[in-house]
Symmetry: D2
Subunit: 224 residues, 4 copies
């Protein structure tokens, strides 16, 4: 009765962002998980990862740059700006372009983007990150419509306020700045990584074939 039994699932940036939590849960649920740790910003890297993996039922596009929270738009250097798109946006396109042909040919497959609610709602000090996360959302809304008739679904988890050593380390949670920001969140706690992975599980399973191109908030009510 395992919910991902028989599925080969590729998870990018396996050690970062939601990679570890998703991989752990997906293995419990019977998936054959392929962990990728390649630097996907390199030319040809995305294409190679897909080619090497062979059959892929579900691609977890877990792509995360440092949020660099607090760098204002007026002080944003070119390298931070570019990194956002190089790490989170361009690889999403190249991975999708490489993996969708096998999925559409089999008339079955899913891409789940582990994205961000900052792509739906603005936040001061996050202009570059928001721009890149919004680009992911714009991409999946359109691309998903091209493959929906081939029974391939592309959806996105628009998350924020999820326990995560990179984005919400305990020392940041202790700051007055964090506490002030967190007042705007109706839920009085962060999500656990496992809760987030359970949502990824739902979207990766055969139980969610009717979702097409959606960026669904996972945010404790912050963006609804």
């Amino acid at each position: 009765m395992k919910r991902l039994a028989g599925k080969r699932i590729l998870v990018t940036q396996a050690d970062e962002y939601m990679g570890p939590d998703i991989i752990a849960l997906f293995r419990e649920e019977g998936a054959d998980v392929i962990e990728d740790r390649t630097d996907l910003t390199q030319p040809g890297a995305c294409e190679k990862v897909i080619a090497d993996a062979g059959h892929i039922d579900v691609l977890i596009a877990n792509l995360a740059a440092s949020a660099n929270l607090g760098v204002t738009c007026m002080g944003m250097p070119d390298d931070i700006w570019s990194e956002m798109f190089d790490v989170m946006v361009h690889p999403l396109h190249r991975l999708s372009r490489a993996v969708l042909p096998q999925m559409t040919e089999r008339q079955k497959g899913k891409i789940i983007v582990v994205g961000s609610a900052t792509g739906l709602k603005g936040i001061a000090g996050a202009s570059a990150y928001s721009a890149a996360r919004a680009a992911q959302i714009g991409y999946i809304r359109s691309a998903s419509q091209e493959v929906a008739s081939a029974n391939v679904q592309i959806n996105l988890i628009a998350q924020i306020w999820v326990e995560n050593p990179a984005y919400f380390p305990p020392e940041f949670q202790a700051t007055p700045e964090f506490k002030e920001m967190f007042k705007s969140v109706p839920m009085p706690r962060l999500a656990t990584g496992r809760e987030d992975a359970l949502f990824a599980l739902f979207l990766s399973s055969d139980e969610s074939d009717f979702f097409v191109g959606q960026a669904i908030p996972f945010c404790g009510g912050w963006a609804q």
Copy 2:
């Protein structure tokens, strides 16, 4: 390993809209389902249903009036207009008001509204229905914020294009009018009732505690 084991779940309008599909799946998943068939437009009816049910872990607010599709705003009679609010909006408030005290006291509980994507996106010939469905969405967005800190979640399935004898009977699906409307849906098929119930299952289970006040489209990409 049943996902709703030990949960007492009340489903309103048990014979209508998504009632039968939700009840069947929820029983398979171990829920103790209470089926309600009361006319909830009657004074005191909502309060009585909740009182009679006793302990309720999850309320499925499955409230549906006839969509009366095709009645224009200029031709809308008062009785059709009022029925929308009497059947779908006012009972949602009265049911919630009655059941939330026990949930907040236990610091655990969920309300899932089986709503409509027409509350998020307009459609000619459905002004009264859209207004009432949007009212449900406005209600849960605010009410959910009042109970989130008590670990009670209120969310809504913003559905459309789901197989359903009342809204999409085969004879309607055969009309040119339906076929023209359906061109705007990326997914080339209707959802089954069971697929819809599987989404209700996710939202009713302990796997979705971080969703607060969301109206999530379930629509084959129609509203994204």
Copy 3:
């Protein structure tokens, strides 16, 4: 060069909500303003107001009940709940139904609803108000599509944080509760009533014929 020269414009609840500011500006801009002070909750009142007014180029559906901010969904009495719909929702339908025939016949006309951003984004302590304001939005999204081909536009101002003796009196602005809420607004001041009226002017003029069924936030960035 007056922007509303030659237009007959009906403004409901002329002494309340945005009525006075809109009426003052619209007269400066050359409109022939008809001020209505009727109790629109009475049977036949909406139909009579429209019939008595005769030719109407623009209807300003300025409909406001007390927000009753702070009444929770669990403590919401039936009379407050009902008043929201009786004052803000049902008259919108009846006014529209009565005025749209003359507008569609002339192939020209506009309805502007002075609504609220709480219909787009939830706020604790405002569940009934949000529900009714969302109903207005759902209504205009669908109804507008029925009359767009007759060159009639229906749009809505989704406002909040506008100077207003009823909703934001100076004594409320002085409270810690207000100051805490206001932290979530990027703009560091309330809008003036005149600024709000200037937006209503744009939507009422011949400069905005391509907007159909939109609920446009006017909120200092609160709901974007």
Copy 4:
């Protein structure tokens, strides 16, 4: 009584997209318009345009690449993909970074992005374009919050279905493909360029200081 009297306004890509219509109307309304035709993809170009212009009250970020409609995500070559971001996204950041310091210092100024509704709603055959247009929206939502307290507003026109020789030439309007797509638009005609410019005028004038970080659809009801 000219609405832009005394304002120095920079319009980029002056000969393309909405440039000509905006420039013509803005001059009628008394603006001192600076027309830019620089290739903004070149290093240092954005910074030089702003430096050369001197005092700028309003920046019209009119940035448009070819939409390349119909290129699917599976067939999207790297050069088309990159061009979208090189032309529409990165210059928006660099122009904003260069011009915002003078605006925030004067405590007055506006940036209007001439964007696209495809950044809000997906469309098959436009994945790269949608991604870039959504990135613009994500950017202005966050960046606007950083400068709102300095009385500087950044907003975006999310347009589509506007008469335009590049995007909707008469020969494209005559195709069955266009006619099929256009069925999803409630308004039965394209907008004129002048109507679009009138909306840009509203957003550029002193009449719209309370809008912060909004992407407002201008689309005949297509995206509402």
